[in-house]
Structure formats: structure tokens, C-alpha cells
Symmetry: C2
Subunit: 314 residues, 2 copies
């Protein structure tokens, strides 16, 4: 158990790509890029590895007690189709009970926090014992080969988490929503904006997203600490959304967080959107870096622009 | 107030289409179709009337106390783009507080019930005073002219509801999810399934959806009544999703509900997906058909396949 998260599983696409090789091919300066992003490898889905398929595979890796799952939340910005609700398809593929609540949430880098918050609310509702929270995205399907800022950062993957009732103190969440920056990370030509003969295309204004992050996330973290009457000293690990090296470096600098309290794995996975935080949690546990009663601060931020954070006790 | 719904607003596309005229043009038998669907008019959005624009217009019709809105839920299956989260854009356009929770839920005909349920959970969380629940869809954008079953039923529109804390008994919800029927109402060539040079296209197997409804919704309604220790007699109005005449006729027949307890407005609006139930609520109130303490049963069902119902006290 990690707070009220009982299990987390991960499904990555089969193929891992080296950013070094990519840079050689595109004649980009790998060392200069690495200095900023810190990302050495990304995972890119093939044609058959859709977000929905990865989500189902991740969920199947869990030892699901089907009768106990009362709700299914599917967090994605890579829907298989606009309708039906993708979570309904997952319900069927996993043979979950038909009495469950099942819906998709559209959220990106703050998505795991949104999912944890919804899970908390659902578990407050007496009849639900366990929530299956699935995050999956395949941003790389819509990146043009010459889009340096997106190609060297984004990665595909899915995680599935079981959230249970727990005797631990209930999580408190802090939120931030600022749609004025919505155009800074956008899938062009998708949804209603779809134009015939144009493919969906991911666009990111990296420096604007960085500015948003630095202008808002330190305050969000401070508010989260204050709400829990907590301090940086009392937190064992800060699990920030693994946006890239420059983002996390700057957050640490502004907030004055010692490096030993930071967990980083973007070098090996890239930015998998809503799955970065659960992937960090899987590794923290596997590497035995945390023990009972340790406090960890989770903070997701990015596309939307949207952010959320909470402090969890192990 | 309607239970804990304080206000509901509606935004329809400008142009209303006569099904009679459409049938003449397509050489379809209007009387035969009308006998089954009961639908005389539908609203169809033009190029500039996207689900997001309609959603924003509907919300602006409410007398929003911006500082009181703590959460924004946007229910849609017609996203403007896959990212950013459309609710973030609404937050910005309505100038809502940046500390709000904002996310999109993908649900269709059961969407208003999902939204009410999420609102209830959010209001249980002490700090949130009001939830803005926006439903909007533009299914008609993706219907081929010769698709008789979809052309004569679906309609576009948006509603915005303010959900508040109330002293009334909290709503109880019953849910049903059955993804095995997901292919019976689907937007082909959308999302990841998008194929170049193919337009998204709405597909419905009307008889399968009807079978699902008749096999499951009567039981769902009975369960809802039983949970509340209630009977058909004690319900003033049954507000079913306005799927079409044949669906509601059959539900009444199977459940043995007297016609005077049924509210129907599909003839004038068509099937506006997640907005049919709030449009009924607007009219019930306007026509003074309900008074304080009356009980109304709300039941949404369809695409997913997904369904939910609850009993609300006026």
C-alpha cells in the first residue's frame, strides 16, 4: 500500500527509442537538448498499440478482484473514439461488474491527481470498495518528425492503479486551472477542430509552459504544504510530473528542495503525461526508497493549463 | 431550486430543421418514421456552433456568482480538441476562479446523471459551494445525409446547470455499464481510430440499442425505486432520456407507468444526448408542472452502453 493505492501496474509500448539516435538522424545537437530535457529514451506506440489497448494491458497485469471494483476512471487525452465512452469498453474487456460507475476524464499532466481525487470522492460514497484508475496516452502518434520540442520529450504509456479505502488520513488536494494558456499545448486538427485532409498535430510552446509552471507551481506546492501543516523537511520525496529536467531543476531551485528529496526518472521513460507520477510511485516502492509513514508530495501540472497536488502518507 | 439544482440554462443552435421537410427531400416516409420516433424537429449546429461554443453560450446565460463556483464539469462526446481539456477553456472564457477543479467527462445519454453524481461528491467535499455542470454535444456534425436512423433523431444543444448544497436528502444513484454494446452507437473514424481521408461518421444500430434499453432500464428503474423505498405512485414525473417515442412508450408499457407521469418533449427538440434531461427539467419548472416536495425520477441511458438513475425531491 502507498497511502490508499494498493497496486500500480505499467504497460509501455514495445519499442523504446534513443533520443541520441533520433538527434543524429535529424542533425539536432543531442548534448544541448539533453542538458535541457534530461531525456535519453522515449517509448512510442505502434499502430496497434493504442491508448485503449495499452490501458487494457496495464489493467490486466493487476490481480483484479472483479467483484470489488465499484468504479472505473479512465484518464486520457488520446481517446480511441469520441463515443462510446472508452471506460465502457474497458469494463467489457476486463469483465467488470455491470453495476459499476465508468467514465473517461479528459486531463493530461494533472490527470493522475484528478483521478486520485475522484477516487477519494467515490470511496467516500459508502458502497464503493475499490476504484480502478487507469491513465493512458499516446501523444507521440501525432508528433511530426521535425517537431524537435515534442519529439525529444513525449512518450507513450499506460498505468493502472487500484485505489482502496484506507485507515490513513484522507488526502487533501489543491487545484489550479488556467485555460488562458490552453493554446500552449494543444492537439491541432483534433475533435471538432478536425479539418479534412489535415492530420492531428501536437503543438507545444515549451517556454510558455515553463513560464506557467514557474509562476504557479511553487505557490501550489507551498499551499499544499501549508494546508497539511507540513514543511519541505518533513517530506521524504517530491514526485513532480516528469515534464523534463529544466522544469524540475527550476522547481527545486525556486522552492529550495534538496536534490535527495527529488525523484527523477524522465531520462529512462520520457514524459508519459498522466502516467509519469504513478511510474515514479512504482519505482519508489520497488527500490524500497520509502517506508511506512513516510510523506510524499505528488504534484501534476501542464496541459490545460491544469495542476493539482497532494501529500500522501505511505 | 429543483432538488439541489438552482438554475439551468439552454443554448440551442440557431437553426431548427423540420423532419417532415427532410423526409420529403430524401423520399423517406415521414409518417412511418414519426410513428416510431415522435420527433418533428431537430436542431443542427452550423460550422461556428461547436459544442464548446454552445457550452460557453449556455453558461453565460446563467447569473454566475463567479467566486462561488468551486468546480466545473464539462460533459461532452464532441470535444473541440483532444487536448487541452475543454473545461479549462471554459474556465478562462467565463473568467472563473483559477483555484477551481475543472475537467471533462466523456459520457453521452447518461451524462447528466453522471454530472449530478459527480456534483454531489464534489459538494460533499466541504470547500466547494457550487458546481457548474455543462453538457454539450453536436452529434449531427457527423451524420451522413442518407443515414435515416441518425438524421431523424439526433439534435444538437447545450445546457448549463448550477448545482448547490441543499438541505434536501442527498441523491442516491444507480448505475449500469455494459461495454459489450459499445459498437451499437459509435463515432467511426474519430480519436485514435481516425483514418486519413475518412470523415468521422456516426453509426447507430437502433434495434440493438432499443433491446439493451428494454432489457436493462426497467430493472434499473425498479432498483432506484426500491433503494428509496418508493413506488411509481409516489413519483410525480418520470424524466427519461428523450431517446425517441418508441423507447419511452416501451418503458412505460413494461414498467406500467401512467402516461400522465411521463414528460416528453422529443417532438420539439429531438435527442440532444446529455442535454435531454435538463431541457425537460427547465420545461417542467417553467410550466409549473411540479411543486415543492414532488418526487421526480431521472433516468439517462444509451451510448456506452451506460445508464444511471436517481430520484430527486423538488
Amino acid at each position: 500500500m502507498l497511502g490508499n493505492i494498493s497496486h500500480i501496474s505499467l504497460q509501455l509500448p514495445k519499442k523504446r527509442y534513443s533520443i541520441n539516435k533520433l538527434c543524429k538522424k535529424q542533425r539536432w545537437n543531442f548534448n544541448k537538448i539533453l542538458e535541457k530535457t534530461g531525456i535519453k529514451f522515449v517509448y512510442r506506440s505502434n499502430k496497434n498499440e493504442t491508448a485503449l489497448n495499452l490501458a487494457i494491458s496495464a489493467s490486466k497485469k493487476l490481480n483484479l478482484k472483479r467483484k470489488k471494483i465499484g468504479a472505473l476512471i479512465y484518464v486520457t487525452q488520446s481517446p480511441e473514439y469520441h463515443l462510446p465512452t472508452n471506460a465502457c469498453v474497458i469494463q467489457d474487456k476486463l469483465k467488470l461488474d455491470k453495476k459499476i460507475i465508468a467514465f473517461d476524464i479528459n486531463q493530461g499532466c494533472s490527470g493522475y491527481l484528478y483521478g486520485l481525487y475522484m477516487s477519494k470522492l467515490l470511496l467516500n460514497d459508502s458502497s464503493i470498495k475499490e476504484v480502478l484508475l487507469v491513465c493512458s496516452d499516446t501523444y507521440t502518434k501525432n508528433i511530426k518528425n521535425n517537431n524537435k520540442s515534442c519529439m525529444t520529450i513525449f512518450s507513450d504509456g499506460a498505468t493502472a492503479s487500484i485505489i482502496k479505502k484506507s485507515k490513513k488520513k484522507k488526502l487533501n488536494f489543491t487545484f489550479l486551472t488556467d485555460g488562458s494558456g490552453g493554446n500552449d499545448l494543444k492537439l491541432l486538427n483534433s475533435g471538432n477542430e478536425f479539418k479534412e485532409n489535415l492530420k492531428p498535430e501536437l503543438y507545444m510552446n515549451g517556454s510558455k509552459i515553463l513560464n506557467f509552471t514557474m509562476a504557479n507551481i511553487p505557490t501550489l506546492v507551498k499551499t499544499t504544504l501549508k494546508k497539511e501543516n507540513c514543511s519541505i523537511k518533513k517530506i521524504k520525496y517530491f514526485i513532480f510530473h516528469q515534464a523534463s529536467k529544466v522544469v524540475i531543476d527550476n522547481l527545486c531551485r525556486i522552492l529550495n528542495i534538496p536534490e535527495k528529496k527529488i525523484y527523477r526518472n524522465y531520462a529512462r521513460y520520457g514524459n508519459t503525461v498522466s502516467s509519469t507520477i504513478p511510474i515514479c510511485l512504482i519505482e519508489l516502492k520497488k527500490k524500497k526508497l520509502i517506508k511506512r509513514n513516510d510523506k510524499i508530495l505528488l504534484c501534476g501540472f501542464g496541459v490545460g493549463l491544469s495542476a493539482s497536488s497532494t501529500i500522501m502518507e505511505v
